[in-house]
Symmetry: C2
Subunit: 406 residues, 2 copies
Amino acid sequence: MTPQLSRRGFIGTGALGIAGAGLVAGKDVQTATAIPLESPLSIAEVPTPALLLDLDAFEANLERMARHLAAKKIGMRPHAKTHKCPLIARRQIDAGAIGICTAKVSEAEVMVDAGITDVLITSPVVTHDKIERVIVLAQRAPGLEIVVDQSQGVRDLAQAAKAAGVTQRVLIDLDTGTRRTGIPPGAPALALLEELLRHPTLRFDGLQAYAGHVMHVSGFEPRKARSLDSLARCLETKSLFEQAGHRVPVFTGGGTGTFDIDCDVPGMTDLQVGSYIFMDTQYRSIGDRDSDIFDTFAPSLFVLTTAISQPSDGLITVDAGFKAIANEPATPPQFLEFPELRYHYGGDEHGIVQFPDERRPLRLGDKAKLIVSHCDPTVNLYDVYYPYRNGRVEELWPVAARGRSQ
Amino acid sequence: MTPQLSRRGFIGTGALGIAGAGLVAGKDVQTATAIPLESPLSIAEVPTPALLLDLDAFEANLERMARHLAAKKIGMRPHAKTHKCPLIARRQIDAGAIGICTAKVSEAEVMVDAGITDVLITSPVVTHDKIERVIVLAQRAPGLEIVVDQSQGVRDLAQAAKAAGVTQRVLIDLDTGTRRTGIPPGAPALALLEELLRHPTLRFDGLQAYAGHVMHVSGFEPRKARSLDSLARCLETKSLFEQAGHRVPVFTGGGTGTFDIDCDVPGMTDLQVGSYIFMDTQYRSIGDRDSDIFDTFAPSLFVLTTAISQPSDGLITVDAGFKAIANEPATPPQFLEFPELRYHYGGDEHGIVQFPDERRPLRLGDKAKLIVSHCDPTVNLYDVYYPYRNGRVEELWPVAARGRSQ
């Protein structure tokens, strides 16, 4: 029982009464493919607020991570919950990814629909409707894997796979200390494995140990200590499984925050890096190996906003608020070109920008790029990316899995 | 130059391999109309996270506000930025609204496309593309009004109206002290009026005085004092205009937080109430005339979520995080049926729920309704509402203006 609106992109004619609108009007397009513009837009012509993607920075990030993990002989399994865009998932696979992650079943469905079939669903499901969707999806995507973290889920998944006459690939999700999902490492995990192995319709592929609580620990050394500590008990579980005679082909985890920590952990097979392609002020604030700012990867994702009102000389108001940039109060958005300006959320529709001195780099009608607070939930607010190079947008990239949190 | 994706609802077949899926498959539908379900869903069958609407509570709120304002002889001009749904706007007009508000031009376009033509755009625009869109839209919607708050905007709007051979209706937006948009009351506003009146292609309809900074002031009496104070200077501006010989037909402002304060202010013509139809924990926390909880209007909007993991006995994890409920840290979501449980955001995809004692009202696989922190940006995360009565969902209501922040 799964009503779903599969949004198909449709270039409307509503706004096309305006002379010069450079779009393919009335053309029905798949959300998994780029939407060509009849004539390119300059950034100044993009209606705001809008999600911009700097292709040069994005591609440099893609390549930097791919090279880093290849050199470490660690698999790259990027998390598509960050971008929700099959076009970007395809780029990651072309750059050497062994597959992608999605957080939810509906997100995986979008990726499989777009031909990306090596998908790991990183969050467990427990209800019958979701379990059935996984099994249905796996019949189109033999590479589909999902995590399990408790008995009931194992039994229900096994039963659904049996009813469909298929074998379902699964990983056991370990609680790394995040206390969000996962079974405790050690004996409870081994008991779950033994239960799992009694079901011939399930195939055990390995372990997931994602330490969500570690990714944003400030400072490289404290983060390293926390990550190694979290992984240690999970790796002991891997040894426990192996001592009991079970192969553990996959040991997956890690993220952008630990990309150059977890890659050196013996036993780790692949990293679930997500935000590295875009970056955001939250990740920048944690620092990296060399600096107080985590700038190994450059910001490539921005919300373009326009100054629309000036209630007093020391302030200017822009057209991007909570509905344009997801709220992460500890690390507000920052202007790429004007780091001295302070952005404050001004409600759902606006931001209020403070000038620290007499300079006025932003005037009414000006557009400017904001590095967002938190990239994943911000991307989830938009239907399309405006990718640009040399200041020109040639096509739009659909956020095909936008809103797919089910 | 206004590329827009007008999302047309499309009931996909991706999830319909499952026996019993009760949907009209493959049927292209307009987003402004309800999407019928082939067979009704019980709430337990709704895939989570999902946006639920309790129709009884919603209709009671609609009627309560309509009766209240009618009794006060004050117009109701509900803000559609809360619901982004033409079906709900239509209900508000049927209940006596004189028109609706939208925050942005693209939101107004969706409403006009759906046949709702008395629309006030409550935020100024300054760029040529947006000004042209307003003028184009007004030719289909003679009731369309927009606010102005500075000279350049007045001149550009007048020029665009002249080029199109139309007269554009405008309100002057006053800064009530929010320091977000609006011109200062008094002499600056009068100077702007005089400039406006020199343009025969603009028609001055009145004043907007929306005190955004007052709506969430805690406690009825402090909120009343702040609201009356904010409005006083704006009402002096109205007198100033009238003394200078200018009629001020409209004096609009107010919101859900001041619905029973501003209605008693002489000179006020209509209130821009928005959140009253849904309510949220942020508004509930401010109290009302009689109580520490603002419960004159009942919560009607919920995010339905499922418990999917239980990392330890004192906690349970649900499938709704930042992507399902907009983050408003001061007033977290609350379970409608289990007020004793504490919801904590557990990242983009999850919430972590704390049990305060040995009772376990929520178990793996259970679904429960969360009153959201902040209704407007939460609605903006979803493509559809699941409206229900007596526990049954018969149709889906598209959030047709979702993502329309331009």
